[in-house]
Symmetry: C2
Subunit: 186 residues, 2 copies
């Protein structure tokens, strides 16, 4: 190894960063701790000083991506001037996030997130939908599940080439979401 670098100094952060890059390019399936250690110029056992095991490492990567995702949703809500268009805006944001990082979708929603009820982006979406739907609270539970399912399913669809035209993503998602009507508000 290089002289004077026995202590990397920033290994944990670098591994997470390299992990994000790798997942974004090649997906999490072929990611290995050894490759990341190699890329960081460190021995194959070094990562285990910072992470209990591979799963714990991937959990931290997941949390980082979730943070980015949540930030995008928060920003989208903040920039929404017409509250009647809130769900549309959030839906587009939701789909757009995974359209730009298709492999993130697979990484997150393949067993890693196994409790939507407490998953922050879903909680955020749920809360925004409740607020948006306050006129008709009776069946809001089902409406929210319907809305979330549609947006979430759309996100998966978009991660696959050819089904949705990603060059005009906002228009496409808008057209799809507008093609169904939600209660009196839709």
């Amino acid at each position: 190894m290089k002289n004077g670098t026995y202590h990397h100094g920033n290994l944990k952060a670098e591994l997470i960063e390299k992990g994000l890059e790798y997942i974004d390019r090649y997906g999490a399936e072929s990611l290995s701790m050894r490759k990341l250690a190699d890329a960081a110029g460190v021995s194959c056992a070094a990562p285990y000083a910072h992470f209990k095991n591979k799963d714990a490492f991937l959990d931290e990567v997941q949390e980082y991506i979730t943070g980015q995702f949540l930030e995008a949703l928060t920003e989208s809500e903040k920039n929404c001037s017409d509250r009647s268009q809130l769900m549309l805006g959030l839906g587009i944001c939701y789909v757009k996030f995974f359209s730009e990082n298709p492999l993130y979708y697979r990484f997150l929603f393949n067993g890693r997130i196994n409790d939507f009820k407490t998953y922050p982006p879903f909680v955020f979406f749920e809360k925004a939908a409740e607020e948006w739907l306050d006129a008709k609270p009776a069946d809001s539970h089902y409406v929210i599940l319907a809305l979330w399912s549609m947006v979430h399913g759309l996100a998966q669809m978009v991660t696959i080439r050819g089904v949705v035209d990603t060059d005009h993503l906002e228009d496409e998602v808008g057209s799809i979401m507008r093609s169904v009507r939600i209660g009196e508000n839709g």
Copy 2:
């Protein structure tokens, strides 16, 4: 090995069957060719006489599950007396299939199916939706994507304990699907 069993006689089929069982119980992530070979009482290299590699094996398993899925959808359509309720019935069937085999969802839709446009169950669903929507062909494209997204997203939701009450799955899915209205038909 046991005497007189040098030629297994039915190894390919048995491996696929054991693969289905394994994925159903533990998921595809931890499935290994060696474990299946062991379970079939055969050496670790034997499977490679029948499958080019692990991926080709999983593809055959995928095709089998897809066949079962398609069969369920076909059966559901056949048993639909009131055509106006067709999409509801197919949606319930779609969700129910993965509710009964949650790990199949993860196996199928985690990179293994990467072209919905030609994926038989989706083509089936699309065709049924088109027929159902023939009154308003103008925006049928978007309506179909909206419907499929919702049902598909719902299926994922159901594979996770707690979000949807699987004891009353049909009612729940019905309530969710009915909470949005599709054009004049919905």
